[in-house]
């Protein structure tokens, strides 16, 4: 009788992405630290990817541009609170995107992340959003959730949407 663990492994179907990410990790170019606040779980390469993706997702929120480091820090803190299996998935996703193969062939972004235009990044996000490949859809949604959660977690984002914040009770 197949064990339930086996059933899950086969059901996961993420093996391909994970394998690709594993390979990607090895080819990853060295990225110098940017000097911004230290991250708990994400690394400098992940920061470069996020620095391209965050402005594309948050375009239209007005304040986002000046708060890039704060938003990335907030994503990092959120990831650090996730259970190990989810942390691993997120880190694999960033490693994949940070690799040349991942960026160029899976995301379809020609320019390095640090030079990619907002339009090019937005086009990649839109492709993954409606991709016929479930893993790309899942990855898009993971990025969407991480970044919007990080943004709307911040009281600084509230005035623009008319949220007064929690009431006083003490």
């Amino acid at each position: 009788m197949p064990s339930r663990r086996q059933f899950l492994k086969f059901g996961l179907g993420g093996g391909l992405l994970l394998a690709a990410a594993g390979a990607a990790r090895a080819q990853r170019p060295f990225v110098a630290a940017s000097g911004a606040e230290a991250l708990a779980v994400l690394d400098a390469g992940d920061r470069v990817v996020l620095a391209a993706i965050v402005p594309a997702l948050l375009a239209g929120t007005g304040e986002a541009a000046g708060q890039l480091d704060a938003v990335i820090g907030s994503v990092d803190r959120a990831v650090a609170g996730l259970p190990p299996h989810l942390q691993a998935e997120v880190k694999q996703l960033f490693a994949l995107l940070g690799s040349w193969v991942g960026r160029r062939w899976l995301a379809g972004v020609r320019a390095p992340w640090s030079e990619a235009s907002r339009a090019e990044v937005a086009a990649f996000l839109e492709r993954w959003r409606f991709s016929g490949w479930r893993l790309q859809q899942q990855a898009y949604q993971a990025l969407h959730e991480l970044v919007f959660a990080a943004w709307y977690a911040r009281p600084g984002s509230w005035p623009a949407i008319g949220y007064p914040g929690p009431p006083e009770v003490r």
Binding site: S74, L86, F130
Partner: protein, 536 residues
């Protein structure tokens, strides 16, 4: 200054141990070890402690209380929810909200209180052999828990988010009713989902658990029950791992509890997972199977006047119009309720990105949201999901969204949009990757009929995990008997939402409280006069 009953209790000498601070392994003995401190575990602890039994409660999450509840999403989700509120089904198509702190999901739930619907009980009697589950037989258990937890009709006017459901439905001749709530002196703040800062919500955290602790029960938190050590059809010990202060990594310290009886109350997903990790006998492949979610879909509406869906008691009006008369063998029925909105959860749930997403968020004060909770598990085409284990032992639910469910989703979108337009909506927006704001009911109707319905396109959520350790009249079709006793393990019971053989068609807390009370009273009687641990 609001009195914090938990901090006061700890100061008064309650025995509560934070396992993250353990410097060496901990070994405990008790009459009963209870895994999980939510709806099922909390009620069980109070009843057993009242019966004079020595109880140890083990909880994976932290002990947080009113002084910690600051109504801030970024703090509440990582502290009080399983997987920081990012738990999902295997294919990531359904987001699952479950609590993970002392009090379990009751610490963060929205206080809606319903008895198990008679139609659900009738189905259980007919289909699952649960002959004693009549409304009359259960009434005393419901009454007992309603008294204990101050369940009462909420007489304050509903907030606008809920009033809109009533208004729209009224205009269409669709019946609605008021939701009863388990609150005392509620401030009508609307932050129940982040932990009640005023202790108005009569969750397990401020009722049954303090009562049990006051009678000497011991609580060990930030300790994850890893497995039951089984031998000869019995459990010998409960083996737990201590977690670090943020609840992410194990510290390497172990907590071992030896007890005469073990009550598994780790909730849907959590309870079957513990039994799976323990290698519990499962001759009929029932364990973890038939896990139900009330798969929930949402339609947001843009109203001309401010709604302020972030403020005011979150759920006070409901409609069972689309549930009543739904035959078990017919199209799926659904319950309609309003949902509170807060920026973080809304921002991550709302489809799209860039300027279009930002523009929708700017309408936040005018946003109204309805949710439809699908009653899964009644029809053969709605068999629910299966709990399995990852390599690291953590649980994951595989829940296929079947065409039968999708047909219900489409009807639910239509029902919600029509009610919202009847209530005066300027535009409605199903939470779905392919949906846009629709400016009129005809436009919405046509668009909804054409929406592709598939995993990861429609946003599907659940805050109601049920089943996986189903009760039944006989072992061939369940995991536990109608009193929660495991069919194959003599001294193991399950007292929580995982014992339901189908979903309920109503928010589950009161059903869990009542059934847990019924099982716990029987267990207390059975344990009275039995030899102490090790003496068998």
């Amino acid at each position: 200054m609001i009195r914090d009953p938990i901090r006061a209790g700890i100061a008064a000498g309650w025995k509560a141990t934070d396992a993250s601070t353990l410097e060496r392994d901990l070994a405990l003995e008790a009459d009963v070890a209870i895994v999980g401190t939510g709806a099922g575990g909390g009620v069980t602890a109070e009843i057993l402690a009242q019966a004079g039994l020595d109880v140890v409660l083990v909880e994976e999450g932290p002990l947080k209380s009113s002084s910690d509840f600051r109504m801030v999403e970024a703090e509440a989700y990582p502290q009080l929810y399983q997987e920081s509120a990012a738990r999902k089904t295997l294919d990531k198509a359904i987001t699952i909200l479950q609590g993970r702190s002392v009090g379990g999901s009751t610490t963060v739930n929205w206080t809606s209180s319903f008895r198990t619907p008679p139609a659900t009980l009738a189905h259980w009697r007919e289909r699952w052999g649960l002959r004693e589950f009549t409304p009359e037989a259960l009434a005393p258990w419901f009454e007992r828990m309603e008294r204990r937890l101050a369940v009462a009709t909420w007489t304050v006017a509903p907030n606008e988010n809920n009033a809109l459901l009533r208004r729209g439905a009224d205009r269409l001749g669709i019946a609605t009713a008021a939701i009863r709530r388990n609150v005392k002196d509620c401030w009508n703040l609307g932050y129940c989902g982040m932990g009640c800062p005023t202790n108005a919500k009569q969750s397990m955290l401020v009722t049954c658990i303090p009562a049990a602790l006051a009678r000497g029960a011991r609580l060990v938190y930030r300790a994850r029950a890893g497995r039951l050590a089984l031998r000869g059809g019995r459990a010998d010990a409960l083996v737990c791992q201590a977690l670090d202060a943020r609840g992410v990594q194990t510290t390497g310290r172990r907590v071992m509890v030896r007890a005469r009886h073990y009550v598994v109350a780790a909730g849907g997903i959590g309870s079957p997972a513990l039994l799976l990790r323990s290698g519990a006998p499962d001759p009929h492949r029932a364990l973890g199977a038939r896990t139900f979610l009330h798969p929930t879909v949402a339609v947001a509406a843009l109203m001309p006047e401010p709604v302020g869906a972030y403020a005011g008691a979150p759920q006070t009006v409901y409609s069972d119009h689309f549930l009543e008369g739904a035959a078990a063998d017919g199209p799926i029925g659904f319950k309609l309720e309003a949902a509170p909105l807060h920026p973080l959860l809304l921002g991550m749930t709302l489809q799209g990105f860039g300027p279009q997403h930002a523009a929708l968020m700017e309408a936040f004060p005018h946003a109204h949201a309805l949710i439809a909770l699908l009653r899964d598990g009644f029809h053969p085409d709605s068999p629910g999901g299966n709990v399995g284990l990852r390599d690291d032992g953590s649980p994951v639910l595989a829940y296929p969204l079947t065409p039968y469910l999708w047909a219900g989703v489409r009807r639910a979108y239509r029902a919600m949009a029509e009610i919202q337009f009847a209530a005066g909506a300027r535009a409605v927006l199903p939470l779905h990757e392919r949906a846009a704001p629709y400016p009129s009911w005809p436009a919405a109707q046509a668009a909804i009929d054409a929406l592709p319905l598939a995993p990861l396109l429609a946003r599907v959520m659940s805050a109601h995990v049920m089943g996986g350790c189903a009760m039944a009249d006989r072992p061939e079709r369940g995991v536990v008997d109608p009193l929660g006793r495991h069919f194959q393990l003599d001294n193991v019971s399950v007292h929580d939402g995982s014992v339901f053989p189908t979903s309920l068609g109503a928010n589950p807390q009161l059903s869990i409280y009542a059934l847990a009370a019924r099982s716990a009273v029987a267990l207390a009687a059975a344990l009275a006069g039995k030899p102490a641990v090790g003496g068998t």
